[in-house]
Symmetry: C2
Subunit: 371 residues, 2 copies
């Protein structure tokens, strides 16, 4: 197992911590945000752009890549890093979540997930073993186990069954980690039930993964439930291993989760919002399509140091969006990713310099004051 | 009039020459290719990307910008350069061609062009005076006069009438050049009739514009007609002023036109082809969607030094195109613009170093050998 994690400093008043995650393709400072490159490309960004905007790791979706162009093809081309022209760390999901949420005729059973391929209608099965094998072909620095993520709301019985199945799959997956170039993370399930989450985290920890994800959060539940469940899960996980909250979230979500011991995040929000004309700023979200920006000479965020804010006005960005110009989506994607990655830098700096509590208060009050 | 042109070196065996065009926003080495940013943005490229790829001047479309966001808006925002975040030269067309080719109920009369606005259905008129005024609002370094570009084929009578009208408009426009921050170019018309082209070029030259365009070429006529007409026009134009061939062309077209005394070009081909998955290479065009590239680890063009060819395989670019990923269009746009701009650099270098004839032979034989 060639990944390692070291906690470097801790906030005294919360569970927040800074760490360093070492992978076969280099180091990642945590807390870390991972831009999502579903098909091996973050929409609108070249790999050199991701470097320039400060991404240290990206996430790619195994299910999508395995369908097209296919894991065999990527393996023959030298793996996902070479394919993408990205020489820094890559985390891949297992593909299970996508199959369960996107596929028709999907059946989850103890051996895995059987579904109808949208490509040719054939019946296919993902197993705990096969998803590790696919991620090995991709050459991921961090691979994820197959897990069962139940829909929200789920009754307790359903959640318990999914936890049991996920744990069984984790047990089967764990020895296969030796075949991976990097590390394999376990995934905590348990829906909205804090005691289930805590119990599963403890069970999973016994398998000694090099990192742990918390899955099935931010899927529609109330925020206070999210945080209660996250706290319960983190308390059951080893403190000296990275904690990755899958699919989260808004900038405020991220700092709230960091205060509860989360180290890693991925989310399509910054990139998808950018394509929809929504920009994150230090004073809240703005929708650039609004008429009020038609002659606004100011940048998206006058506190932002990103290339978009250094050079372009809201008026120009609105014009590009109204004309559906690709360049508009590109410029907003740069800004939103910079905003997210810069937020993580500020979080890390605050933890290192014992001012995280202030940053958290500031983030919460900015959210309340947002228009 | 604050633009100037100096011929710096000449090819001995053809009409090709290198020059330096000085504008309020800096210098342009000619022969020059101008990427097209219809709505004030070259599709898929940020202004910093255009700088990085080596563009020295861009073209923007007055008609499109005047419709949306409006010339008044751009003027209030400090002009087109500030609006686009582009501090190098900008050439704008008059908008006449777009009105005549895109608008419904368009009527050309001696006073100008009356058309129905696609925005609100209202009747509007472009006059020789109004198009200069709009381009003054935009702050173009090089503005174009209103001209009448007849459809191809056009009979001689139609072509003669269009020349007469275009010349009348040029006479009306010429004194207004004083209101512009940069220069105003006249436009030679005359359809496929070399004698009309030559006569109009002489007439227009009497008005002493700081530069001259040849309009209405590459609109479907045979190539040998294109070159005959271009030669006739150029022979009627002052040798010490820049010659701009509007809307041209392929890489071979450009070097052929340079050999006949052309100095400036604009065309949507490199950017539009990129979005359609077509790349220009040193051995011809390739359509990246073809199955044969599915596992091709080579760059688009192994002789190319562009960022796309330095980093990405044909297999990756094909995958992105097949998945309609924006990043695929971006990477091909970078490559195609680099290819065009690099071709112009090679042309300039060849003229300076007395090897243009060899380059022309090479370009012609590469085209013949292309698959």
């Amino acid at each position: 197992m060639s990944i390692a994690f070291t906690v470097q400093s801790r906030d005294e008043k919360s569970e927040a911590r800074c760490g360093l995650l070492e992978t076969p393709h280099g180091k990642v400072e945590t807390p870390a945000f991972m831009p999502v490159g579903t098909y091996g490309a973050v929409k609108g960004m070249r790999s050199e752009d991701l470097e320039a905007v400060g991404a240290q790791i990206v996430l790619s979706n195994t299910y999508h890549l395995a369908e097209r162009p296919g894991a065999d093809t990527i393996a023959r081309l030298g793996g996902l890093h070479r394919f993408m022209g990205w020489n820094q760390p890559i985390l891949t999901d297992s593909g299970g979540y996508q199959v369960m949420s996107l596929s028709r005729r999907c059946v989850v059973h103890d051996d895995g997930v059987t579904f109808q391929s949208p490509l040719d209608g054939s019946e296919r099965t993902l197993t705990p073993e096969s998803v590790v094998a696919i991620q090995a072909q991709l050459g991921s620095d961090i691979a994820m186990v197959l897990d069962e993520c139940v829909a929200n709301p789920a009754d307790r019985k359903t959640a318990e069954k999914a936890v049991a199945r996920t744990q069984g799959w984790a047990v089967r997956s764990r020895p296969l980690a030796e075949n991976l170039p990097g590390g394999l993370f376990g995934i905590v399930q348990g829906s909205v039930y804090p005691d289930l989450r805590h119990a599963h985290a403890l069970q999973l920890s016994a398998l000694d993964f090099p990192g742990y994800a918390i899955g099935g959060l931010s899927v529609g539940e109330e925020k206070e439930v999210t945080w209660e469940v996250l706290e319960a899960a983190v308390q059951g996980l080893p403190d000296d291993k990275p904690h990755y909250v899958m699919g989260m979230g808004t900038p405020l979500d991220l700092i709230e989760a960091v205060s509860r011991g989360a180290d890693m995040f991925d989310c399509v929000i910054p990139t998808r919002h950018a394509r929809n004309g929504v920009a994150f700023t230090s004073t809240g979200k703005i929708s650039i399509k609004q008429q009020c920006y038609a002659e606004d000479p100011e940048p998206l965020d006058s506190n932002c140091k990103c290339p978009t804010c250094r050079r372009y006005s809201r008026a120009y960005l609105r014009h590009l969006k109204m004309r559906s110009e690709m360049s508009g989506a590109i410029l907003l994607t740069w800004h939103n990713l910079f905003h997210y990655l810069d937020s993580m830098r500020r979080i890390r700096h605050a933890i290192h310099s014992a001012s995280f509590a202030d940053l958290l208060v500031e983030a919460r009050s900015a959210e309340e004051a947002a228009p």
